[in-house]
């Protein structure tokens, strides 16, 4: 069995978000780039599946320019066997999924994070599944290999389910899929330098959406403080002023 883990290169989650060019582009000056947190958990789960046996290879893939390679190297250091970078700046989710569809055909299991923490698209995994004609399950919080099927835990709106589903499968994963992301060890970092990172040319396609402009949330009014001994006042304020109780 071969597993592909999709890796998105995103700003560190503590980044203070700013925009430039009259709010038309994200200001990446001084930004630290990381593996998208859900992708990192997906990779961790892929490693656990491989250690349990039955997985021959784990590949990680990213659509982006050369500047995203440190993120792919980190994924290799965590333990992926090889990496693919489709050499083109990532545009919208459709564009990215189209590029990935070219390199993802031969995998039995594709793990995608439920969203990327920058553009919150919730889109690439599902689009890729549709383009490849694969089965998909979203909001996955657990997965294991069970013969020629997968046993999957997924969250539904108002509960959870245990499923059995045939491959090839795109599992769109969220929190719970693995306990803690793995941190690369020194040996892994050394080995990652020698692992194959294959650069693939992009296919010709067009994005379907474009980002016209950005806005920051309106600044909040100062917090109204209530004395610890006078919580009744808080209830009165919520009831009469804010009208939310």
């Amino acid at each position: 069995m071969k597993i592909l883990v999709l890796i998105s290169n995103v700003p560190d989650t503590t980044t203070k978000v700013r925009f430039t060019g009259d709010n038309t582009s994200f200001d990446d000056a001084g930004v630290q780039w990381i593996i998208n947190p859900w992708d990192e958990l997906a990779l961790t789960r892929a490693m656990e599946l491989k250690e349990a046996g039955g997985v021959d290879k784990i590949t990680v893939a990213n659509v982006g320019e050369k500047t995203t390679e440190p993120t792919l190297r980190k994924a290799l250091a965590v333990g992926a066997d090889d990496a693919i970078r489709v050499d083109v700046p990532a545009k919208d989710a459709y564009f990215v999924a189209r590029q990935l569809a070219e390199v993802a055909k031969d995998y039995d299991l594709i793990l995608a994070g439920i969203e990327a923490s920058d553009y919150n698209g919730n889109a690439v995994g599902g689009m890729l599944a549709e383009m490849l004609g694969f089965n998909s399950v979203s909001a996955v919080s657990g997965i294991s290999i069970n013969g020629d099927k997968f046993t999957v835990n997924r969250e539904i709106d108002g509960g959870s389910q245990v499923l059995s589903i045939t491959g090839p499968l795109v599992a769109i994963v969220q929190k719970g899929i693995a306990k803690e992301p793995r941190i690369p060890a020194m040996r892994g970092i050394m080995m990652a330098r020698k692992k194959p990172l294959n650069i693939v040319a992009a296919v010709d396609t067009h994005e379907k959406t474009s980002y016209a402009s950005y806005e920051l949330p309106a600044p909040k009014a100062a917090c109204k403080m209530v004395d610890e001994e006078n919580t009744k006042e808080l209830i009165t304020l919520l009831h009469e002023e804010a009208k939310v109780l």
């Binding site: 989650t13 978000v17 989710a93 459709y94 999924a97 923490s117 920058d118 919150n120 919730n122 690439v124 599902g126 689009m127 599944a129 549709e130 383009m131 089965n135 998909s136 399950v137 979203s138 909001a139 919080s141 997924r154 969250e155 539904i156 709106d157 108002g158 509960g159 959870s160 389910q161 245990v162 499923l163 059995s164 589903i165 769109i172 929190k175 379907k208 959406t209 474009s210 980002y211 016209a212 402009s213 950005y214 806005e215 920051l216 949330p217 909040k220 009014a221 917090c223 109204k224 403080m225 209530v226 004395d227 610890e228 009744k232 808080l234 209830i235 304020l237 009831h239 939310v244 109780l245």
Partner: protein
């Protein structure tokens, strides 16, 4: 031409968010000179289906086929795309919840449509079609232009008010023309959350952080949630420690919520946490540290001991 809405029901009763979606679609339809068709999957009685008309649906497609009970993403997407084609839908609206997020990307590919997920408002312009969504996990918004004939969107919870329009809808049985080979998902086990308000539906959310000190101190918050009909949530350290289930974790890597009222008990307010809750209409923070960043995001605050404040709040709410 129409606007298609994917509605969700729970044991035959529509969720409130389905009415929100129909209200939202009706507002778009008005601008575009179009009408709203609602798609209902599962066994829903006609008088329940008629409720959709009250929010602006002029037609309801009723898809009753037990095979869809497994929520097979591939088969369901095929059915929704078939409905969109049948109705000549220019816009397809889903909820930004687990099911909407699962289906919208697949449907958008089938329809060769442009997808924007997590939208928070009506389109600001229709030609070009520009719509606002959350980005950077609630830290900013983007105005996204869709450059495709058909638009697929998922609407963020609580971003549109219900509008009752009255009226009636034509109810029509819909055959999605799927066959058994389209269904590959077998459900072995379903665990429904019962007797609790779902976090995604909750208008009031009670949330606790590290300041709750252990997993044993949540009785007061649960009592308060019961009294207010609120949903329970927690910050990341709480779910990492196993004090509460990870399904309650709100924040950048957990759930993003937007209730009317959010109570943060003993939550310091790291930037990742605020990203998940900053769209709440009103935030109340209770924390012993007056310098905690949560107070910068909050509308109302109490500097104090959560274990003293919680019982007082319970008494206060009981006296309301």
């Amino acid at each position: 031409m129409s606007i298609l809405v994917y509605t969700e029901n729970w044991d035959g009763k529509f969720k409130k968010l389905s009415f929100e979606l129909v209200s939202y679609a009706a507002a778009i339809a008005k601008e575009m000179g179009s009408s709203v068709t609602a798609l209902s999957v599962g066994d829903v009685a006609d008088d329940e289906l008629n409720k959709l008309a009250n929010y602006g649906a002029s037609k309801v497609l009723k898809l009753e086929d037990d095979r869809f009970g497994s929520l097979d993403n591939k088969a369901l997407s095929k059915a929704v795309a078939a409905a969109a084609n049948k109705e000549g839908a220019k816009v397809v609206v889903f909820a930004h919840d687990n099911l909407g997020k699962a289906l919208a990307p697949r449907v958008s590919v089938k329809l060769d449509a442009g997808l924007v997920s997590g939208v928070t408002a009506l389109p600001s312009s229709f030609d070009p079609f520009v719509i606002k969504k959350k980005v950077f996990t609630g830290k900013a918004f983007a105005n996204v232009q869709i450059n495709a004939d058909i638009k697929v969107i998922t609407l963020s919870q609580n971003s549109f008010e219900l509008v009752e329009t009255g009226g009636s809808a034509a109810i029509e049985a819909f055959d999605a023309a799927v066959d058994d080979a389209d269904f590959n998902t077998v459900v072995n086990e379903t665990n429904k959350i019962t007797g609790k308000v779902l976090l995604s539906d909750a208008e009031i959310v009670i949330s606790g952080g590290r300041g709750m000190k252990s997993g044993d101190n949540w009785g007061g918050l649960e009592e308060l949630a019961d009294l207010l009909g609120a949903g329970m949530a927690c910050s990341r350290p709480v779910s990492d420690e196993g004090w509460r289930s990870h399904t309650e974790h709100v924040g950048q890597t957990g759930k993003i919520i937007a209730p009317n009222l959010y109570f943060a008990f003993g939550i310091s307010g790291a930037i990742q946490h605020l990203g998940g809750v900053s769209s709440s209409k009103v935030i109340v923070a209770i924390n012993k540290d007056p310098e905690a960043p949560i107070f910068e995001a909050a509308d109302y605050g109490i500097v104090g001991d959560v274990f003293k404040v919680i019982p007082q709040l319970i008494e206060g709410v009981k006296a309301m």
